[in-house]
């Protein structure tokens, strides 16, 4: 069997809710935000694996926890068979080179005081890689890779002298410079103009082919997910409710939540209008996650047992999993 690049098993991240003094005096039990609440998936080499779902469902927390930018509450993470949570300091440092992250906001993630050259060179210095001359060559090559050409035109600029798309390219060049094997891309095109989004998405696909990259791609935009991803996992309140090949998830969604999400997406076709959205109510707080199936209060198909029994993922067709009692 092929070994996955990333294997995540029952990953959990609970954030304590800050308690007021009164709560402490009254010895109220400590409350937790269950941001990620038992998530399991594999990502294979050269795959674009997507985490999609509405705001607050735990996408970013999952991505950051995998990179150990956040320590998990529970669960296991493997990177090419290595136990990421048992890394020695040396191994962790090495992991930080091999796995990178690209953030949503290229305005915030780049230091405004630094030039493009120093921004892209910095990771090399941190990891003490190459001589000054070697680093220069590497920076120039990385800028060419992200199509900031000729690189001489860009290296002296600061972030505010770049367009949004160019800034995101610099962020990608910086992530690429260490020759990573795995990249978490957290909403990398959400802040960009529509005419520039396609360019960045195509660039990411090109880099995947040229550098054998593997991506965890985080987005709330299912049209983008359908375009760039091989597989999609739909998250709801910290759990994956459905996972499968991208086109299948979009064209043949099985989970009632996925069906609602997809029904709600507008299309650029004026003849096609959004119909009734098959969902009730609003997203509950991640502090008070409903018992049983966490989606049941909003589900139009909910049955009495959905209130008490938590569904397990079922493989409905090859590689297409859904966690819903309707399919058990």
């Amino acid at each position: 069997m092929v070994e996955p690049v990333i294997r995540v098993i029952n990953l959990k991240k609970y954030f304590p809710v800050r308690a007021g003094l009164l709560d402490i005096l009254r010895r109220k039990p400590r409350l937790y935000i269950r941001a990620v609440d038992g998530v399991t998936f594999d990502i294979y080499e050269k795959e674009v694996f997507c985490l999609a779902g509405e705001s607050g469902c735990g996408k970013t927390t999952t991505g950051r926890t995998i990179l150990r930018l956040i320590e998990p509450t529970d669960g296991k993470i493997f990177f090419k068979g290595e136990d990421v949570l048992n890394y020695t300091n040396e191994e962790l440092k090495n992991f930080r080179r091999r796995a990178q992250i690209i953030f949503q906001d290229p305005y915030e993630s780049l230091n405004p005081m630094m030039t493009v050259y120093s921004i892209v060179e910095e990771p090399l210095k941190v990891h003490k890689i190459g001589s000054k001359e070697e680093r220069y060559d590497m920076v120039m090559r990385a800028l060419e890779d992200v199509e900031l050409k000729p690189p001489e035109d860009f290296i002296h600029r600061r972030p505010h002298e770049l367009s949004g798309g160019q800034r995101q390219r610099v962020a990608i060049a910086r992530a690429l410079i260490l020759n990573p094997e795995f990249i978490v891309a957290d909403e990398p095109v959400s802040m960009l103009d529509m005419s520039i989004r396609a360019e960045i998405l195509n660039l990411m696909l090109k880099l995947r082919d040229e550098h054998s990259l593997t991506y965890l791609f985080i987005t709330h935009d299912l049209a983008v997910a359908k375009y760039i991803c091989d597989r999609i996992a739909i998250m709801y309140l910290g759990k994956i409710v459905e996972l499968g090949p991208a086109e299948e998830i979009i064209d043949n969604p099985l989970h009632p939540y996925t069906q609602a999400l997809i029904a709600a997406v507008p299309t650029p076709d004026p003849e096609e209008k959004i119909g009734e959205i098959p969902i009730k109510g609003e997203v509950p707080s991640p502090i008070n996650i409903p018992r049983g199936c966490r989606f049941h209060p909003r589900c139009i198909y909910a049955r009495p047992e959905c209130k008490v029994r938590e569904p397990k993922p079922i493989e409905v067709s090859k590689g297409h999993y859904v966690a819903c009692l309707l399919y058990e």
Binding site: A198, P268, D269
Partner: protein, 343 residues
């Protein structure tokens, strides 16, 4: 017996468009740097019950256009030309006091880009709407205003008992509904919605879009919906204007514009936007980036990114002309390029 004059006026009145913007120009002045040509010769019209979508990328001047119409511009903004006609009357020339009293909120209202910023966090939402009503309806008593608030909340799908809530006690979708209720408080004819759903999740967005559509039908509102999101705008609009670098480059019935785009930028955009429906197809990016409006390109503003440019495109700015009935385009070469795909 009617005098001929009166007949002429009465007949004329039937033909007056509800709302028309003609060759509007508004620049911002940045000291030491020059003028930002945010709205640079914009024209369109709107009839009762119509929804016009204005799409364009960040910074192309969409919000500036809305603020110019509502006369809510900052001090460094200069309206340098054009007219905004409401029932044939230029509301830009109207005495500001009269405009405040009779036009803003009462005839034309605005749903702001960010619901969070539009609401005061420390005042109960019901009181905020009531206040908006009482400022304009000096005669109205508090309890009458509160009655109207409850009606408005019910109209936008919020349980009237929530009038006592503070904004932070409401979800994002409910806050946006409150903002919509406020925009409707004085029964306007025209509502301008600037990115009404940008901060919302897709399910909530769909619910708000449905609400706007229902209200539009029920109240026979004319709506101008502004967004960078083509798909969202196409959900609501029957007419669409594509804006690029402070100008409308294409404008017409939404089906004409989407199925038979004439401007290279429109063609490019439609190929650059992924859709959730249909087979996955490769997206064709548009090379380059939108221009800096402090120093817009010569001639056609889109020429630096256009694969079809010729000398004339670099030298002369094209006019917005009627290419087909009701379908306008600002491109020197649209005729030869009919049916030709971008890139």
């Amino acid at each position: 017996m009617l005098f001929p004059d009166t007949v002429a006026i009465a007949l004329g009145a039937c033909n007056v468009m509800l709302f028309e913007v003609r060759d509007l120009k508004m620049y911002y002045e940045i000291i030491g740097k020059g003028l930002v040509r945010a709205v640079d010769g914009v024209s369109f019209s709107l009839e009762r019950g119509e929804t016009l979508g204005i799409v364009g990328e960040s910074g192309c001047g969409k919000s500036s256009l809305a603020l110019t119409i509502l006369r809510l511009l900052p001090a460094n903004a200069k309206v340098l030309g054009g007219e905004v006609l409401l029932d044939g009357v230029n509301i830009l020339k109207m005495d500001l006091e009269k405009f405040r009293r009779e036009v803003r909120w009462r005839r034309i209202s605005l749903i702001f880009q960010s619901a969070m910023n539009a609401l005061n966090p420390v005042i109960r939402v019901g009181d905020q709407i009531a206040e908006a009503i009482m400022i304009h309806d000096k005669g109205i008593r508090k309890n009458e205003a509160m009655k109207r608030v409850k009606e408005l909340l019910a109209l936008v799908g919020i349980d009237p008992s929530r009038a006592k809530s503070y904004p932070f006690e409401l979800s994002g979708g409910m806050r946006q509904r409150v903002v919509i209720a406020m925009a409707l408080a004085l029964n306007p004819d025209i509502v301008i919605a600037d990115e009404p759903t940008t901060a919302l999740d897709v399910v909530v967005q769909a619910q708000i879009l449905k609400l706007i559509k229902d209200l539009q039908r029920k109240l026979r509102l004319s709506v101008i919906v502004i967004s960078h999101d083509i798909s969202m705008v196409s959900e609501l609009s029957n007419k669409i204007a594509v804006m690029y670098a402070g100008q409308i480059v294409e404008y017409g019935d939404i089906k004409d514009v989407f199925y038979n785009p004439l401007h290279p930028y429109t063609k490019a955009l439609l190929y650059a936007v992924p859709s959730i429906r249909g087979k996955r197809r490769r997206l064709n990016p548009i090379p380059g980036a939108p221009p800096d409006l402090l120093r817009p390109p010569s001639g056609c503003r889109f020429h630096p990114r256009c694969p079809f440019k010729t000398d004339i495109c670099i030298k002369e700015m094209p006019e917005l002309i009627e290419a087909d009935e009701g379908h306008f385009v600002r491109c020197h070469r649209f005729e030869e390029l009919r049916g030709v795909a971008f890139g």
